[in-house]
Symmetry: C2
């Protein structure tokens, strides 16, 4: 008996500069639209939330480079990520012939989360993903609809929560990896994981730990790689690449076991 | 042969004070959640958009009591209506056991619209509803999901558009009246259409015109009644009532032919 052929699914995460720059966003979305087959787009917020927060007189509070989500900040994030950016992307995708649907984790209860324990650091209204309910996501994908996910979840008690977009992407791809042959693409403004201006094309856990211990891999790349390796373990194909290379078959830094 | 029994659907529109006041909103949503059967909630923006716009240094521009939607105002509306208010309502409904999904007209291309002709008055980025695509709405309703619609549409060319929530509600209910026995409830802070502090319990076109000519019915009530009578013509049951009476079988001002 032959093996059943599973449909492939790409979960693509963008953040940072591609969202802030209208021209880059348009160009990215055109490439994204050209990708065949089921796909999900997860977006961060870029610097929009910080800028709009500042204009509203709300200062971004950070501990160890991580945003503290107080009540005011959560309102800004819900507005900017869940409204402005999400609907901008959805309407642009519609103009490219993609039937997109913008969702937060509260919509259809797709991603219930737990407010993070305030000890040792109180990050405020930040949610750690509890589970991903895949039924509606699968139904959208089977109907050719493209879900566009904002980095927001909810606690099922009426409270929206701020959740890292990288985490949303890895949680969603892992949850769907029973039903699809999955691929996770972290897209950003660099060609991939870099060492002295040179692209690292293949990365395994040993090399990752070596480069992290050596201070070559730092900051935001660490959680991205942790999440990537954790997805890899669940059978997900993972790469970290430039948003300009989103439609390429292979590109950037590929994670391997 | 017996007649086929159609499922009933309530399309409920809220705006103004109920959205601005957290306690009133909570109480309304509890009543809304208690309503049995398929239902859709359409929300306006209350004074939130104006307040947040002011804090961002964007002044609300009005002509004849109608908001002019310049590019900055559209951004604020997309943030506040499509993000802040929509997700607040969705997460609160989830906590009440209602599986809600927040949507604009761009999501799933549910409501494509045309930018309003700039002559004689240029209202800016305002959309007049072109059509309502009911397939996904019906699928949600059949699955027990409650769509929560923000007053935003899109032009299918990548542009979000501001569309009056009363219009969204009447367009959606009319489009679904082939598949459902429909009812449209305009809910606001008054008990219904008032004359000298007294509730008018039944209104037909003749009485409406008489009261409009006499200056008794003015301002925002005029488009509401125009839309209501137009929905009535298509077989929709229509009432204008207090948001406190949303779950009552009969209440407020009932429109009749």
């Amino acid at each position: 008996m032959g093996e059943a052929v599973m449909k492939s699914l790409k979960v693509i995460k963008i953040g940072g500069k591609v969202i802030d720059d209208e021209q880059k966003l348009n160009s990215f979305l055109k490439d994204f639209a050209s990708i065949k087959g089921p796909k999900i787009l997860v977006h961060g917020g870029g610097s929009n939330a910080t800028k709009i927060g500042e204009r509203l007189g709300i200062e971004a509070k950070m501990i160890d480079g991580r945003r503290i989500t107080d009540a005011d900040t959560l309102e800004v994030i819900t507005m900017v990520y869940g409204g402005l950016i999400n609907k901008k992307i959805v309407s642009k995708l519609q103009s490219l012939g993609i039937n997109a649907v913008g969702l937060t984790g509260a919509d259809l209860n797709i991603i219930p989360a737990r407010k993070r324990n305030p000890e040792p650091i109180d990050f405020g209204w930040v949610g750690d993903v509890e589970t991903v309910h895949t039924a509606w996501l699968s139904q959208f994908l089977d109907s050719g609809v493209v879900p566009v996910l904002a980095p927001l979840t909810h606690d099922q008690q009426g409270q929206m929560l701020n959740t890292n977009a990288d985490t949303i992407a890895s949680s969603v791809v892992a949850a769907l990896s029973n039903d699809f042959e999955t691929e996770l693409l972290y897209c950003f403004e660099q060609p991939g994981v870099m060492n002295n201006g040179k692209l690292i094309t293949v990365m395994n856990l040993l090399l990752y730990r070596y480069l992290k211990d050596g201070g070559i891999i730092t900051d935001g790349m660490i959680p991205k790689l942790d999440l990537g390796f954790s997805a890899l373990k669940k059978g997900v194909k993972v790469s970290i690449r430039s948003f300009e290379d989103v439609a390429k078959l292979e590109s950037g830094t590929k994670l391997v076991k």
